[in-house]
Symmetry: C2
Subunit: 343 residues, 2 copies
Amino acid sequence: MKKTEIAKLGEFGLIDHLTGDIRLTQPSSLKGVGDDAAVLNYNGKHTLVTTDLLLEGIHFDLVYAPLKHLGYKAAVINFSDIYAMNGTPQQITVSLGISKRFSVEDLEEFYSGLKLACEIYGVDIVGGDTTSSLTGFTISITCIGSAEEDKIVYRNGAKDTDLLYVSGDLGASYMGLQLLEREKVVFDGSDEVQPDFSGKEYLLERQLKPEARKDIVALLAEHGIVPTAMIDLSDGLSSDLLHICKQSNVGCRLFEERIPIDYQTAMMAETFNMNVTTVALNGGEDYELLFTVPLTLHEKMSAVPGVHLIGHITESGQGCYLVTRDGQEMQLRAQGWNHLAEE
Amino acid sequence: MKKTEIAKLGEFGLIDHLTGDIRLTQPSSLKGVGDDAAVLNYNGKHTLVTTDLLLEGIHFDLVYAPLKHLGYKAAVINFSDIYAMNGTPQQITVSLGISKRFSVEDLEEFYSGLKLACEIYGVDIVGGDTTSSLTGFTISITCIGSAEEDKIVYRNGAKDTDLLYVSGDLGASYMGLQLLEREKVVFDGSDEVQPDFSGKEYLLERQLKPEARKDIVALLAEHGIVPTAMIDLSDGLSSDLLHICKQSNVGCRLFEERIPIDYQTAMMAETFNMNVTTVALNGGEDYELLFTVPLTLHEKMSAVPGVHLIGHITESGQGCYLVTRDGQEMQLRAQGWNHLAEE
């Protein structure tokens, strides 16, 4: 039998390959595979569903990720997918594969983070499955949310001349991860020698305990703005912007000088001798919202705090390019964390 | 820090411990942790959500579980949870952790089973997450279903004098597993020596490619019967019946001579020198429906094919007992597959 290596297709290629022929047959299935969340119609009200699988050694390292933070993050990254559809997360189910070395107290820690996130974001834990794992800790969370039909924002609605916005700042989570990896040796060793993270708290928090941009969704609603397309930044600005462009069948121009980067991120990139723009483009795990709005809403948008105009949408034929500080155009590539291609 | 071993609590004790203090806060959350599925209310229509996590080495062995069958089974056991609420499964999300040794063709096989199950049961695949796994194959499926409010059947509605029914026959899946484990040596070895499974196909099918009892749910509806309590048999008759009794705060009498057992199951139990009643009580993975109906519906129930009257519900004070063929009463114990306690 022919054996094709998965790395040949990459994560997104693999998903396309396996799910490309799936047809929706139920009247209640409005939107299936291919956006931040699925959209279902139960009796006229729209229901959103999203799911994330986190595996030890791939998505987190228990050497430096405290279990409480991990529980918080596992919940929040699912909420983020629902917000990226302009919806409201309402319930989660939590399935855990528990490794032998875990104690009840370890799981209490994990659940305390999970519960804290649910409390802050107003979400209920309604079910799950718990089993033992022969290997690492496995976390699978599914989030269900609600949305008004005419307010749901897909990835495929961006139009030529739309403006491109992003919330917050980018690259901090990735630099936090680099910092943690560097200090891992210290964690592994003696209890007495503790790594010094002073002045770098922001980077660590962005990596270990990110927030979902519920506030941005609320602000946009307050200002009466419904984006034409939206996605949350999990794989990296470059990769996620290309998702919007591909699914909307448009091109884009992204301006390097406009990409929002925090001071700590820039400092740390310099320490690691990394190009900070590359970090912001490809780092991933920012959980900021990337969205497009019609040019006519430019004035209205300027009254919304916490978001940055970073570029605009073009016709499909014009391609997807980063405009550098010196005015050169470089083609955008999806170099985000492609776990499957990395191997 | 105090460390409590998880085995001390067991799977259900652990879930109770971690989720016991969870309060539902959203108006759309009607029923959370503790039944076959959660019940949500989106605009008056009831939505059911259930999830299952399957891990290689714990729930399946790729040495003898064909990937197509595994895909089929992974979907069907989720549908079964929705039917156990008297609902209709409508959508699933599929998250996979893919081990390095998998090829694209392996995943095509898995998906072909998944798609076949969805086609047969009328369910759409609407989303998921795909990542690499450093260790084994990981499958997390969440199923969303619909139900009419007044037709949903919980585990907690059984009343004194209710009759206890089960569909199909029990223990076959467990004997199929025993058979596969015994022949595993042959699988592992040369391609030329194949194990002889003739005459045992039913046991293998029950283990490798089970069905959910959509037909029983339809038959009950046709006859105008709404059970007072229902559960699907995944952990074993004994364990699952105790769930109904505990949550309904009732006792029960289960009659050994009435437990439906297939001829092949009985034969195989004899070959393995196992007590076939023990196999039927504790084997698990039957995916049959266990339910209670009021005594007054006895006549109506006798017109429903494929179900067996196996006992009745008593007051709580009378305990939960198996009445053996020789008239003795033995207390029922949950000895189902308790993966967490087993370790």
